[in-house]
Structures are given as structure tokens and as C-alpha cells.
């Protein structure tokens, strides 16, 4: 046997390249990484914003809690708790480890699907609940701090705040729909990967 014969046999060997569309899997994993990167960057921004907000809430509380009643402290505490819970919710949708290729795809795909489902729930449900509770906390806060002020003040502050929250919600509607589409598509493809890999 010489090297040329080996080379011929090498190229002629029957080969079963992995059946499951590897191109699709490669693209899927790239899409996953891209989606995760976007989520992480967005979460970092939200966390930074919330850190500042929590600082402001603490400052407001420490500066005026003696001159206001329990409603003032309670509403501030609710807002702070809401921010912290929301941070936990958004970070729970992130998977920090890279895919472990020593495991079958089903091992990491199911983990990704769980994270994606959580992300989906965040967009469709948790954001709404968060905004509603935040609105309620703000209304309680206004009721507390605007007590004794003019009627115009007591009405305009909650109305402007409500209008602002509604506008923000509508402004991000398109972005949320796009995020949902991408999340749904990833859930579908990773679920298919789990099935075909078994």
C-alpha cells in the first residue's frame, strides 16, 4: 500500500455527513447569539437606568419621608421593589453559557427554549403587569405628595404621567412585535432541533 492508494481510498470512503441540516443549525445558533447579545445590551441599559432611578428614589425617601405619611414611603418602596423584580425578570431571560458542543443539541436547545419562553412571557405579560403596578405606585405617590395642592395640580400630574406611559407603550409596540416574532421563530427552530436530534 502506498500513499497515493491511501489518498484515493480516503476520498472514496463512504461518508455520512450529519443528516440534520447543519447549515440551518449554524444559522440558528448565530441568530441565538445575536438575539442574546441584543437582550444583554438592552438589559445593561435598563439596569443602569434603574440603578439611577433607585438612587433617586432613595434620595427622595431619605429627604422627605419624615414630612409625609405611610403612603409616601409605601409607594416609593413599591416602586423600588418593582424595579428590582423587573430586573430579575429581564435577566432571567438570558443564558450566559455558550453552547456546549460536547452535548447533544437537545441538551442546550431545551434550555434555550425555556429562556426564550420566559422572554416571550416578559414581553407579552410581565411588561404589562409591571407597567400597571408602576402606574398604581405612581398614583399613590402623587396622592401622597400632591395632597393639599390645587385641583389642577392633582389632576394634571397623574394625567400627564398616564399619557406618557401610554405613549411609551405605543411607541415600543412595533419593536415588541419584532422581538416577539424573532423569539417565536427561535422557539420554533430550537424545538424542531430538539425533536430531530433525539
Amino acid at each position: 500500500m502506498n500513499f497515493d492508494e491511501l489518498q484515493k481510498s480516503w476520498k472514496a470512503q463512504p461518508l455520512t455527513v450529519p443528516e440534520q441540516s447543519p447549515e440551518a443549525k449554524a444559522q440558528l445558533l448565530v441568530r441565538w447569539r445575536r438575539q442574546q447579545r441584543t437582550v444583554v445590551l438592552s438589559n445593561i441599559g435598563v439596569t443602569a437606568g434603574f440603578a439611577v432611578t433607585l438612587g433617586v428614589l432613595a434620595w427622595v425617601f431619605l429627604s422627605w419621608h419624615t414630612s409625609h405619611g405611610w403612603l409616601f414611603s409605601g409607594s416609593l418602596l413599591c416602586m423600588a421593589l418593582l424595579l428590582l423584580v423587573y430586573l430579575w425578570v429581564i435577566w432571567r431571560g438570558v443564558v450566559f453559557h455558550r453552547p456546549d458542543f460536547s452535548l447533544p443539541a437537545s441538551a442546550y436547545a431545551s434550555r434555550y427554549v425555556a429562556a426564550l419562553r420566559w422572554r416571550r412571557k416578559t414581553i407579552t405579560t410581565f411588561v404589562w403587569v409591571y407597567m400597571l403596578l408602576l402606574w398604581l405606585s405612581l398614583m399613590l405617590y402623587f396622592a401622597s405628595v400632591l395632597e393639599g395642592t390645587s385641583m389642577l395640580m392633582r389632576i394634571s400630574a397623574p394625567v400627564i404621567t398616564t399619557a406618557y406611559m401610554v405613549i411609551v407603550k405605543f411607541a415600543i409596540r412595533k419593536k415588541q412585535r419584532r422581538q416577539l416574532n424573532e423569539t417565536d421563530s427561535l422557539i420554533k427552530d430550537f424545538s424542531a432541533l430538539t425533536t430531530t436530534d433525539e
Binding site: M1, N2, F3, D4, L6, Q7, S9, W10, K11, A12, Q13, P14, L15, V17, P18, P22, E23, K25, A26, Q27, L29, V30, F101, S102
Partner: protein
């Protein structure tokens, strides 16, 4: 995007068998080779924008494959690969026909006994890449690559033909 996918699909279609054979030769374990193959495709897709057409498309693909294989193996070095036998089962010369598959097994087992880098280089030689292409891929000079390839070939032939017929290549 369509264009990018088209280039990627063409690249994979042209080189998939070669890439997969390299994975098998490098790791000598089908499930690991499958994973490495997927990782190579992933890297190809991610770095497609960096392909400027200066090198031959296949050379670029193999370069990505080789670099990914080295990184992949470094990352998973602690994991337990299937142990290879210390000695290679040699077939009698008359075992042709059905023996081709066993010959391949023998070849893979021989390749597995080579040093890590040498496994990749000999796979590229078996894929019929020129010395220049292999030198481009490994980042060595053509002369050094040639010397190294001859040494690897001799070692491989010695492993395949223990009765000292290494001068046959």
C-alpha cells in the same frame, strides 16, 4: 442576506465531505466529529464577511476549519475522548473489497497516533491540497511545510505498514 446565504451554502456544498473527513481524522470519534463539524459551519457563517476572495475559496474554508478544530480541541481537552488501541489491527493483504472500510479504520487509527497538528496537516494532504495551500492555511513557509509533510507521511506509512515499507510513498 440572500447573497450571503447563497455563498455560504455553495461553500458548504463544495467542501462538506472534506471538512467532515478532517473532523473525523482529527478527533477519531463520530459524535465529537459531528459537533466539531457543526462548530466549523458556525464559524464559517460568522466569519463569512471576512472572506475577501484573496485566497481560493476552498483554502479559506479549510483555514477556518483548521483554526476552529484547534480551538475546539483546546476547549474540550479535559473531556474524555474514547481511548484508542495501543496497537493497530493490520489486515491481511487479501482482505480487499470489504476490507476498504477496515483499511479506513486502520488509517484513522494511524492518524490518531500522530501529533495534533500533524493530524490536520495529513488530512489536508489526503484532501489533495497543494503544499502552497497547506502552507497558506498553517501560516508556514512552503519549504517548511514540505519537509514537515514528508516527515508526517513517512510516519503514517510506517504506522500503516509496520514491516518498514515507509519508502513506498
Amino acid at each position: 442576506m440572500q447573497h450571503r446565504e447563497q455563498i455560504f451554502n455553495d461553500m458548504v456544498a463544495e467542501n462538506r465531505a472534506g471538512i467532515y473527513r478532517i473532523c473525523l481524522a482529527y478527533l477519531h470519534d463520530r459524535s465529537w466529529a459531528d459537533d466539531l463539524y457543526q462548530e466549523i459551519l458556525l464559524q464559517l457563517w460568522s466569519s463569512l464577511d471576512r472572506f475577501r476572495g484573496e485566497a481560493k475559496r476552498s483554502t479559506w474554508v479549510y483555514r477556518v476549519a483548521v483554526n476552529t478544530a484547534i480551538t475546539y480541541n483546546a476547549l474540550h481537552r479535559r473531556s474524555s475522548h474514547q481511548e484508542l488501541p495501543d496497537t493497530i489491527q493490520h489486515l491481511p493483504d487479501d482482505a480487499a473489497g470489504k476490507g476498504q472500510e477496515q483499511q479506513m479504520q486502520q488509517l484513522y487509527a494511524a492518524i490518531a497516533q500522530l501529533a495534533e497538528q500533524d493530524r490536520l496537516i495529513i488530512s489536508l494532504v489526503l484532501e489533495d491540497l497543494s503544499y502552497k495551500e497547506i502552507a497558506d492555511i498553517t501560516g508556514s513557509s512552503v519549504t517548511n511545510t514540505g519537509v514537515r509533510i514528508n516527515r508526517i507521511k513517512a510516519r503514517l506509512m510506517k504506522l500503516m505498514n509496520p514491516e518498514n515499507r515507509e519508502d513506498e510513498f
